[in-house]
Structures are given as C-alpha cells and as structure tokens.
Symmetry: C2
Subunit: 208 residues, 2 copies
C-alpha cells in the first residue's frame, strides 16, 4: 500500500479485539463499499447497516452518523503496518514511493476508495480532519527514510520529511484529481526525480 | 486570477454577444452560486432556474442538465484574458505564479468556486473533462513563459511547459485538497523554488 494514498480496503486483516474489532471492520468495509458505490453524498447509515449487519441504532450510538463513520473508516485505514521503502539510495526510495502510488492509484478500481475519501473531504469537515491526520501520520513514518538520506549525504541535514513526501506525491495526485490526467511510469519517475532535485538543492530544508 | 486555479466568479465582465451571452453569464453565475452553496451533489436545474431567471425548459434544452451546466460554467471560466507573469526571470515568474495561487486559493471564500469545480469532477465525468480541458488550455498559455526561460538559459531547451506548470502548482493543491493543510507564503515560495530546481536539473525536458 502506498505511503501517500489513503489505502484501499484490506479485508481479512487480523486484528486484536474480538467482537468489537470485528464489528468495526465490518462497518468499515460497508462504509468503503458505500463510498465507492454512491460517493459520500449518497452514503447513508441505512446502507451501512444493511451491508455490515450492524443495527442502525448501534451505528448512530457509536459513530454518530455518516460523518463519523467515514472519519473512523479513514482512521482505521491508517492503522496498518506500512513502512517506507529502504532501497539504499534516496533516488531508489523516492522512485519506489511513486511506483507504489502508481500501483495503487493508476487503475480506476484501485483508486476508487482513496478517491472517495478525498472527495468526501470536500463535503465533510470530519473527513477532511481525518485525511489531514492520515497524511500527517504517513509523513511521520517517512522520517527515517529522509534521515538515512541525510546521513548518506544525499540531501542537506534538516530536510523536512513532510515537505519531501508531499513533493514526491503531489504531481501524481494533481494529475489524477485536479487536472484529471492519467498517470504512468514516466510520470511517477518524473515526480521522484523532481523531488530529488529539489531536495538536493536544499529547497526542503527547514529554515534555521 | 491564477493560471492554475479554476477561477472565481468574475461578475460584471463585459462580454460580446448580447442577450445570449448575458443569459449564459446569468446561468453561469447561478451555477457557481449553487456549487458554493450546496456543492455538486445538491445542485439542481431548479436552483439554477430560480437564481438565473432563465426558464427550466430553456436550461434543459440548451445545457441538458446539471452536468452540462457545470461543464459550461467551467468552460466559460476558462474564456478570460489571463496571461502568465513576465518578470524577467523564471524564478520571478514561478514565484509570481505561486503567489497568484496563494491569493486565489489561500482564503476559503476565494477557494470556494475552484474547490467546488474540483469536487464536482469526482462525481461528474463531464465536469472532469471540462477541468482537464481548462488545465490543458492554461498550461498552453504558459508556453511563452517557459520558452523565454529557455532562451535566457535558465532551463534546458525542450523543457515541457505542462510538466513545469503542474510542478509549480501541485504542492499547493496537494496541501489544500489532498492532505488538507493550509498554505502560506513560505509554501508558495517553496513550490516555486522546487519547480525551478527540478527544471534546472532537466527533469521536465521531453525525452528525445
């Protein structure tokens, strides 16, 4: 799963917590299915109840409503064991990252859930907050990748992980969700190489 | 208005074409108001009729429905006289561009219409097509900016305008609409400087 795309559904994930966790997973699966099927505007608590087998009153009590359901599904999506690539060079790591983004978002089926989360954030402040938290946590996981690069002398020390991670992801997300253009391997490599050139030039160094 | 943000409403623009053009403008204004008020999911032909004073049957006949109305509003938004900055240096031009993006998208009121168009593209294929066309035309307008930079020796000849324009915009759009973070002048300058560093390194040169 990509570091930077809200992840696709990962059914069958073994999780601790017994019945409560299984309920949360079932609800999450139903929320994702609904987001893909109808989008956030069409998603209802009734749909989630029907597709999860969890009673509507339970959904309202535990999640409050559709906004809470979507925010929790995104929070749950962030609770995975993803770690950033470690190829031995920053160029290799950045190219691996953009390849992951291409793999997860490059085909419409894989992009459906991430796109639904991104779309939901336009309509729900809680979804936007959850998306912001998702990315903040994702970027934080990439700190070791950037620290290794600085230790190898590939980027100036003080290079800010979040800035570099946004930089490597942004051109691909821009094409897909803003200018509505397809992405391919050349785009992925270009995004990695651009982020690398800017990082080397010290653009992502925190002001001191 | 920014080169890269779908523009905000520009009421009072004088346009040729008499009654038909005035009707189209009134309809466009109503579509923009509706997009901001309810978002694409809530926009109805009834709303546009009520707010434009144009009869519903006329709207259906000329625009087909909500999708056509939104696509046409975006097309009309692209018919402006915007030209890219010409400051004498690529660094200056890129910083002027990111400052324009910051000015137009940095506050919620200014961002409302562009955000509504971007959100609509998640739900409407015609809106997505219109957004793609909008950006393609915007990027084409920036060709002279990149050619001037190549003539001054600031970037390799063959630097692809679209790639550079996406690069300079993408980090700001990513923050606003993907990772849901605010943008400020430091972010705008960083986006410009990163695009410049990558362009200088030849990352946006077309493969030959």
């Amino acid at each position: 799963m990509s570091s930077d795309a809200p992840p696709s559904q990962a059914p069958g994930t073994v999780r601790p917590g017994g019945r409560t966790a299984r309920t949360r997973d079932a609800v999450r699966d139903a929320v994702l299915a609904g987001l893909v099927e109808t989008g956030y505007p069409g998603l209802t608590v009734e749909y989630v109840a029907e597709h999860s087998g969890v009673h509507k009153t339970t959904l309202y009590r535990r999640w409050g409503g559709v906004e809470g359901l979507v925010a929790d599904a995104l929070e749950l999506a962030g609770e995975d064991s993803w770690t950033p690539p470690d190829t031995g060079s920053l160029r290799g790591d950045l190219r691996a990252l953009t390849q992951e983004i291409l793999d997860s978002l490059g085909d419409p089926a894989g992009a459906a859930v991430p796109a639904a989360f991104i779309a939901a954030a336009f309509q729900s402040a809680r979804a936007a907050d959850a998306l912001r938290a998702f990315y903040a946590e994702r970027f934080a996981r990439c700190t070791p990748l950037v620290e290794r690069a600085a230790e190898r002398g590939e980027v100036p020390s003080g290079t800010e992980p979040g800035a570099l991670m946004r930089a490597v992801s942004a051109p691909l997300f821009f094409r897909l969700f803003i200018s509505r253009e397809p992405i391919d391997t050349a785009d992925a490599d270009q995004a990695a190489d651009a982020a690398l050139a800017a990082a080397r030039a010290g653009v992502y160094t925190r002001p001191v």
